[in-house]
Symmetry: C2
Subunit: 355 residues, 2 copies
DNA sequence: CTTATCTTCGTAAACGTTTACGATGATTTC
DNA sequence: GAAATCATCGTAAACGTTTACGAAGATAAG
């Protein structure tokens, strides 16, 4: 056998039998000279196994390349080692950022993630997706629900495993608890920054009110204004796109209604309006101050570099996972939201006195 | 026993007992008055079951809300209904775009996706990730490997299920076949556009050569220049970041070496160098033409709106899935790569005669 | 009417684990 | 030295399916 030119794929100790099958717990047992029960014990590091045999079994496992069959484990324990993520397919900055971060954290905690996304109209497809995730065997589900309509679908859905929703400012229900970053605070920070710079005429180029994010960012802006005793500024509802912001800003220019300062609901929004201003000789920040939201990649190299609000997706993901896993294990976990931070760059400046 | 106050664990058709357990194939069988074998047959729509009983069983399934236990199925059949995606955790535009598109297409084809990401150093962690994916029960794996080093790790890894790599311009091996968009063509398109505009001094602000994308984009630029009989332009290797491009461009300005035109390896790169130019009174496109690559969101609202190259991630994902599923089923599939398109906006203009 | 052929269905075994329980030998206690 | 305790290990059953095979009744062929 040693003389064979083609080395067979042998993973028993007997080199002549070419076993194509993946090694099982029984293979380990027979090679190690113990019973499968013992192997199972060391696998789950249960007590009642001597240090010596444990060592030996571990060695055999390594030698023959044994790997636990997840399906079998899941079947008997009905507990799982993966968590599901449900998102709408939106390629927007926030959802994608949280998705990536979520996957990352899950992996570090030893969970695989299976993600599935749904598209409008939500209603039934959300329930279907939840079901699919469920019988994939996930132990819990995190749904990224930026859109209010989708969150509603989740609330109305039923699911055996714990469901957590990441939705800015949404409230928890008995079935699904929610968690999010404190975006209202973020919006507040942005607006306060403008106020401290001496601006009094602060408009808001808002995001879509179909989104939680659009709602709470607006709310934060309003609150900051109110707290400072300022009159409410101009509010415009958009759709997060640069295009909308561009065209809307153009309109404002035409009507000579350009505000002193604007809090843009997203960096993309800021991008659009800055271009509209630039094309009309209105300079940022000299003529109008703007602060964005998101801190997308490259926003530090916009013209001008954008003052904006950064969310900590990693922290968000970490906390969410903590909360979900806690729920899966029946623990109770602290749920104070993450605070975003203001990052000051060049797009907002001291107000000039000439009104 | 019927008089017991505490209802026993009964999920028969008696409606007063609240069934807490998930219904199994046996529950369906007993309610429908058939054996579990029959139920299994209708589940897998096998022959040998009369139309009448099939109807009845189907009805019962709906009634009691039965759902197939994937773990049990996977255990006995060892075939699966999900596909694995391995990516590096990079939050860059390309990888994220393909990831999202992949998930989307997979879902439409009835597959769940479980994604796992690895980080540097790749070597062992890639093998580990592949293994994890494998015993999650995926039927095939797509790896998004923008970085050459990661691809190498994949080539050296072993895996029972078919593995497909999405890596621009990487070659297939017996174990893992690769697929990608024709980015070299994209780079060619960009450069040719500049050439047709009359530019002869065309620099390339490159991406990292650790990335396949960096390599093939450079290659496309070189080829276009060569085909046009032009001398090779200035080449600089970067890291995709606006920051690098900014600082490098600044350097060029200081040394009075600003080229006539530049092909930037990414839109983010373009962003950085445009800002550097702007700060020094060098106008784009009046003084220097630039074209980017990626068509990131908002690039149509840069100052100026960016001429760039767009990849079709959806098409890419569709084809990749086609190829992978083909491999899983033992079919052979056409593998001609997707072609990116040039999107012309305002950042590149006719060359002026004053050299 | 008997026998052979279909149709339709039920049954047993297997997939690879975990868990509860019982068995064995060694060690301690009286 | 016998009984009790302890540490270590083996065994059986179960998890919810699928698959191969066999059995019963119905139908067709002789």
């Amino acid at each position: 056998m040693a003389g064979a030119t083609v080395p067979r794929e042998a993973n028993e100790r007997l080199p002549d039998a070419p076993p194509r099958r993946k090694p099982t717990i029984n293979d380990v047992a027979s090679v190690a000279g113990v019973s499968f029960g013992t192997v199972s014990r060391v696998l789950n590091d249960a007590p009642d196994v001597s240090a010596a045999t444990r060592q030996r079994v571990l060695q055999v496992i390594k030698d023959i390349g044994y790997r636990r069959n997840r399906a079998a484990t899941a079947l008997v324990t009905s507990r799982s080692t993966s968590i599901g993520i449900l998102s709408d397919g939106s390629p927007r900055f926030g959802p994608v950022g949280t998705l990536m971060a979520l996957e990352n954290i899950a992996r570090r905690k030893g969970y695989a993630t299976t993600v599935i996304s749904v598209e409008r109209p939500y209603g039934e497809s959300v329930q279907a997706a939840l079901d699919t995730l469920d019988d994939t065997g996930v132990g819990g589900i995190i749904v990224i629900a930026p859109v209010v309509e989708m969150a509603a679908a989740v609330w109305n859905a039923s699911c055996r495993v714990p469901v957590e929703m990441i939705a800015a400012g949404a409230s928890s229900t008995p079935n699904v608890f929610s968690y999010s970053e404190n975006q209202e605070l973020g919006a507040r920070l942005a607006t306060q920054h403008l106020i401290e710079l001496g601006h009094t005429d602060i408009a808001h180029f808002g995001g879509s009110l179909d989104w939680f994010d659009g709602r709470v960012r607006k709310r934060g802006w309003e609150a900051a204004l109110r707290d400072a005793g300022l009159a409410p500024g101009l509010y415009l509802e958009g759709d997060w796109s640069p295009r909308w912001a561009y065209e809307t800003a153009l309109q404002l220019v035409r009507e000579h209604k350009v505000p002193q300062a604007v809090f843009a609901a997203s960096d993309h929004t800021a991008l659009g309006l800055i271009r509209a201003f630039a094309e009309n000789g209105i300079r940022v920040p000299e003529d109008v101050s703007v602060v964005g939201f998101d801190d997308i990649e490259g926003s530090d190299y916009f013209l001008p570099p954008l003052t904006t609000v950064r969310q900590d997706f990693t922290a968000l993901a970490l906390m969410s996972m903590e909360v979900l896993i806690g729920a899966m294990e029946g623990r109770e976990v602290d749920r104070t939201p993450i605070a975003p931070t203001l990052v000051v760059r060049d797009s907002a400046r001291q107000a000039t006195s000439h009104t």
